[in-house]
């Protein structure tokens, strides 16, 4: 328990941490949309450099975060391989079915996915749950017949439970490794050994969490969020909009 986990808030005294959550939300959406539209290598490099700057500014421990997210590498590799063999085009000599166009398409698709993951890591790593909840409530509140507070709480709880799940899975895996699970080569049995206790413990913990919330008078009618937007928030938003304008037009 108590380890740093990707997609979890990590306190640092940084500019990105101190930004207004609504600005961060808008910027995240703008960047994600832009990543969906970019096509040329120059654009990819440009957006990557901007995100690199955001990573540095956020002061999050990226070396450790990347180490924890190393399994995404397998997903990315899988995407490149599938694209390389499933898209028709100029054949690459010794390997049958492999095409240049497929490889390039897979590479760009993976790059896109990687950039979106980085945006999520920066957003979740620099935004405390309370801020996130405040932001969601603020955006949803004007929409009639939508239970903004309930939706915000549900998203809030998802973010509380995800690190718990990772933590729990890691503990179960370690306990099974200690009893030589590696000797068992059957992946289905190994998945079964992981998922059954994981689900049971997750339900138990979710139940305990509900009890704890109830004992502290949980209600949907809570203290209304208060925002304090500053000049740096407007500067950050202007910069993001300008960058996106360049990408889109």
């Amino acid at each position: 328990m108590a380890q740093l986990i990707a997609f979890n808030y990590f306190y640092r005294d940084s500019v990105i941490h101190s930004l207004d959550v609504r600005i961060k939300f808008v910027t995240m959406i703008l960047f994600s949309a832009a990543i969906g539209r970019i096509t040329s290598p120059n654009q990819f490099i440009g957006v990557s450099l901007i995100l690199l700057a955001a990573m540095v500014l956020s002061r999050l421990p990226f070396a450790e975060l990347f180490r924890q997210m190393r399994y995404f590498g397998l997903l990315i590799l899988g995407i490149i391989v599938i694209h390389s063999f499933s898209v028709s085009g100029t054949k690459i000599a010794p390997i049958p079915g492999l095409t240049v166009e497929g490889f390039v398409l897979g590479l760009f698709f993976s790059w896109r996915l990687f950039l979106v993951i980085i945006i999520c890591v920066i957003f979740t790593g620099t935004t405390a749950l309370k801020q996130l909840r405040k932001g969601i409530e603020w955006f949803l509140h004007p929409i009639p017949f939508l239970p903004a507070s309930r939706i915000a709480t549900m998203i809030n709880l998802v973010f509380v439970l995800i690190p718990m799940l990772f933590d729990q899975a890691s503990e179960i895996l370690d306990a099974q490794k200690a009893r030589c699970i590696e000797v068992n080569r059957n992946p289905i049995r190994r998945i079964k050994y992981l998922t059954v206790p994981l689900l049971l413990q997750t339900f138990k913990r979710a139940d305990e969490l509900i009890m704890a919330m109830e004992s502290r008078c949980y209600t949907e009618e809570r203290t209304r969020p208060v925002f304090n937007i500053k000049m740096k928030d407007w500067i950050f938003l202007s910069l993001s909009v300008s960058i996106m304008a360049v990408v889109f037009f």
């Binding site: 309370k130 305990e208 009890m211 008078c217 209600t219 203290t223």
Partner: protein
């Protein structure tokens, strides 16, 4: 003055298991009461009734002479419950956010919430961790955070359910010191534990549960010699008697 009273309290689970049966117990204001019992004796179920988290099958809980179920929100505000597993009690992504959860549920104004949170963290000596991820705290600090979360609701009674589980020696001392200080500051303390040698010196009264019933109730120095027959380890009693049963000396 009687602050909390159980009258013929019985709780049956849907499968027919009787968790507690005909519990009669009156707790006076300012009292420090230890409820001990072996595993499965019904201590935790009883604790959850004290906070109104469970509904009795029969009987009732009275708070200042009024049925607790009549005003459950007030009861939960006035009777704080610290759960055995502090990890599953954490709902915030920062220490301050977690403490604010209760007051925000009570729709306290944002400025007042900030003040209450600062006071609660100060009371448990966690102010320097206000912006940290609570999952990164030590076991003892997590229990203190749970105490701060309850203190922020300004309770009169605090129920501790096995607060020493999984803690090392310094952790136990931290929590015990906190507990004694809370009692000195006028809180009524209900401590559920079977580790009598750590705490009994501070208690005004010892209650022992067995198979869902209260089997012993009285002054610690009178009851202590009878506990072994109910599956509780009889601590070594030296010349100082029950007065030596603390880990704070």
């Amino acid at each position: 003055m009687i602050i909390l009273q159980a009258e013929k309290l019985t709780h049956k689970f849907p499968d027919g298991t009787v968790a507690i049966k005909d519990i009669d117990l009156a707790i006076s204001e300012g009292e420090f009461i230890v409820i001990a019992g072996s595993n499965g004796s019904g201590k935790t179920v009883f604790a959850r009734h004290l906070n109104g988290l469970l509904k009795p099958t029969s009987g009732k809980i009275l708070f200042f002479g009024e049925a607790l179920a009549k005003n459950i929100i007030n009861a939960r505000k006035q009777i704080g419950l610290i759960f055995q597993n502090s990890d599953s009690q954490i709902v915030g992504q920062t220490v301050a956010e977690d403490v604010a959860f209760g007051p925000e549920n009570l729709k306290t104004s944002a400025s007042q919430v900030a003040k209450i949170v600062a006071e609660a963290l100060e009371a448990v000596d966690l102010s320097q961790y206000a912006k940290q991820n609570p999952q990164l705290l030590s076991g003892g600090q997590k229990r203190k955070l749970a105490v701060a979360g309850v203190l922020a609701m300004k309770p009169k009674v605090i129920v501790f359910d096995e607060p020493f589980t999984g803690l090392d020696y310094p952790g136990v001392r931290q929590v015990l010191k906190q507990l004694v200080e809370l009692h000195k500051s006028g809180h009524t303390i209900v401590l559920i534990t079977h580790e009598l040698e750590k705490t009994l010196a501070h208690a005004d009264r010892l209650v022992v549960m067995d198979k869902g019933r209260i089997v012993l109730d009285g002054l610690p120095e009178e009851q202590i010699y009878k506990v072994a027959q109910y599956g509780i380890r009889l601590p070594e009693i030296g010349e100082r008697g029950v007065g030596a049963m603390t880990w704070l000396s």
